[in-house]
Amino acid sequence: MAIGKINTLVLASIKKINTLAQDSWAAVNTLAHVTFTNTKAVSKTISTGTSNAITFTDTDDTFNFTESEAWTISFWVKAGWDVNLNTNIHFITGHKNNTSYQVEDGIKIAYLENNNRIQVRYGNKTTSSNTWYKDAQWLFHSNSGAYAAGYAAAGLGATYWSAANRGYVNGDNYTMITITKAATNIASSLKLYWNANAAGSAPVQNDAGTANIGTIPMSATDDRLWSVGSRGKYGSVDQDKAGNSSATLYNDVTIWDKELSASEVTSLYNSGTVMDATTHSAQSNLIGNWKWEGNGNATVSNDNFTIAGGSAIVNK
């Protein structure tokens, strides 16, 4: 066979293979898009107790961040509370299971409605007097000095965050709240993003109990109880502080084992369209992803949330 004929056959074969490969890849992409839907969210009832909670216990230590590790927790929330709540709403908490104190091996993200602040705290507390924590608080209603970044990020104006004043939201009235932490064990290592808007390090920071850090580091092995929409279970407290309206909804929750950069948070915000986080550029650091599309099962990790009692999957 002539060399020219062979070349023609080879080229034809390569073209055929390319066509088949492109068709296959298109089919994979189509399938990926078909499988990602975002029509549901989860509602935490204002009824208290484990029997009404949204929880899982992390028995395989996937999310056992210590004080010297970087992490990111991101979630979408649709504010349903009103301005007369005058207390706090716990968005996400993770702390040692069956413990006496909230912050024992704990991380919490809460909204302090009476002060219009988001509070993030991590730390450890093993006795009534043996405690340390790093605490960061961002407020959103003062457009001056250290508070101006939060004011600009949230878009709430001088009025507090509530169902009647949700600030910058996407088309479904949700806000993506993202907390990042650098590896350094200090309150200033915590940063807040409102959607893709950076509020930076907190204007209110507390580095409390530093002297005890060496004696009670956060455990990498204790099982932690993670809760959405309430503050967990410890002492006599059992899954309260959900706010005063079950109209508060939570959508896609992601946990990452790195401090996402500002550009990575912008990418995750995706111009307000909830994205498939498994396609994010930092997906190799995505260790937890819950979409609430029909249940509390994880897309990433093997830790599925139990949605109990009056808490429920609802239309977003």
């Binding site: 005058n86 706090n88 909230q102 608080q137 407020l139 001056s144 000095g145 309260d240 502080k241």
Partner: protein, 86 residues
Amino acid sequence: MNYYIITKETFELVDKSQVHFMRKSLDKTKRLIATTEDVEERIRKFNNIDTCSSYTFTNHSSWVGDGTGIETWEIEEITYIPEIDD
């Protein structure tokens, strides 16, 4: 630390630099404060942080909207910021 309930008007007269915690009542007419100052004109004084917190649970309808109360960790950690009065 001293723990008081005072009126809104009295609060305007206290030394804000000594106030560590402040919570408005739901009707905005009263202030529950933790301060290092001795305040004579008060509605109520508490012996310690625990009795202060406990009072708000008993009288929650005046202080919180979810039927609970103001907890000790809130009084200890949610720092009053004088320049924004919050």
